[in-house]
């Protein structure tokens, strides 16, 4: 009986750990793929701007495609943002919410990520900290203006007349199981620093 229970517990534990390791490995591969895609996109943009500066702002972005880079120096974050906020996109990097503005465009740009992966240190972000976003057409420096915690169902996504960046993740950051709340960080453009990426 003892050996049977031990074998059963060992098998269940090993199976769960295999699932966790496989998930993390898939996430690492997806992240590398997004980084490579963004590096190729940057190279293409640099070559295009060298030939003839051209804008194609309205070009739609496919789900899972790299849309830009997100840097937060104060917490050591440097990630490539991908389009979409579903699980298969969030394993690759912070996800840009489709339908919201892209960082640097007029409106509210919403970026979400898992608290145990890319945004694991988001709770350390303080008001006044600097965030930098780089997309195909804009390089923008933001300043954190607000942090708040809301319940998971709280209606927090709003349009904005001005350029605004909203970062979301689960709260509490260190919590076992599906976290019940959300951490919302809002940033505004630092005047005079926003610029076009291709300049």
């Amino acid at each position: 009986m003892r050996r049977l229970t031990g074998a059963l517990l060992t098998a269940v534990g090993a199976l769960l750990l295999i699932v966790v390791v496989a998930t993390q490995a898939t996430a690492a591969l997806s992240r590398d793929r997004a980084r490579a895609e963004w590096a190729a996109e940057e190279a293409r943009l640099a070559a295009e701007s060298a030939r003839a500066p051209r804008r194609d702002e309205s070009r739609p972005t496919a789900r899972g495609a790299a849309v830009g880079r997100l840097l937060i120096p104060s917490i050591g974050l440097d990630e490539v943002m991908v389009e979409g906020v579903e699980e298969r996109q969030l394993v690759a990097g912070p996800g840009h919410l489709p339908g919201s503005a892209l960082p640097g465009e007029q409106g509210n740009a919403i970026v979400s990520a898992h608290r145990d992966r890319h945004f694991r240190a988001l709770d350390e972000l303080a008001i006044g900290d600097t965030i930098v976003t780089q997309t195909r057409h804009h390089r923008v420096v933001w300043r954190v203006a607000e942090r708040r915690v809301v319940t998971a169902a709280a209606p927090v996504l709003r349009r904005s007349d001005s350029a605004r960046l909203t970062l979301t993740t689960c709260w509490p950051v260190r919590y076992l199981g599906p976290a019940p709340d959300r951490l919302i960080v809002t940033a505004v453009v630092v005047p005079g620093i926003a610029q076009a990426a291709t300049k």
Binding site: M1, L17, A152, T168, T169
Partner: protein, 148 residues
């Protein structure tokens, strides 16, 4: 041997208590069904009812008190909230302002909508890792060889 099995089972149950906490309310015993007062209508009973000191077994003291209070014009006591059936509140962090939401069911947000909830970024991976490690450790401990 049995104590070690019980210990490992208790450890697993404790690990899963966050998920299973809602189940604990299942042990709350429901109130007993209300029994109406049976009033005899025999001549003897009628005689007792006319008597000002008739013996009546009160089975619902609350109803009796409420009826007496309403007769005297005293407002009834507020309804008692059954806190055992309410979920435990999550303490908000001390340094961050918290916004309470209306009673709207959580729905996964995959595209921007005005007034939508934040995208679902919850993940069970840390819990799976901890349960897996604990289960593996408990299993290996049970399988260890005892010294003769």
């Amino acid at each position: 041997m049995r104590s070690s099995i019980l210990l490992s089972a208790a450890a697993l149950l404790a690990l899963c208590s966050v998920e299973a906490s809602a189940q604990f309310t299942g042990v709350v015993v429901p109130p007993k069904p209300k029994v109406d007062v049976v009033v005899e209508t025999t001549p003897k009973a009628v005689a007792q009812m006319r008597d000002s000191v008739a013996r009546v077994n009160l089975t619902s003291m609350k109803d009796w008190v409420d009826s007496a209070a309403s007769a005297l014009g005293v407002p009834a006591a507020p309804a008692v909230t059954d806190t055992a059936r309410m979920p435990a509140p999550v303490p908000p962090p001390a340094t961050l302002p918290r916004i309470e939401d209306p009673a709207v069911p959580a729905r996964s947000t995959t595209e921007f909508r005005e007034g939508a909830a934040a995208p679902s970024t919850a993940t069970p991976i840390p819990l799976l890792a901890l349960v897996g490690l604990s289960s593996l450790a408990a299993g290996l401990w049970l399988l260890r060889r005892r010294r003769a």
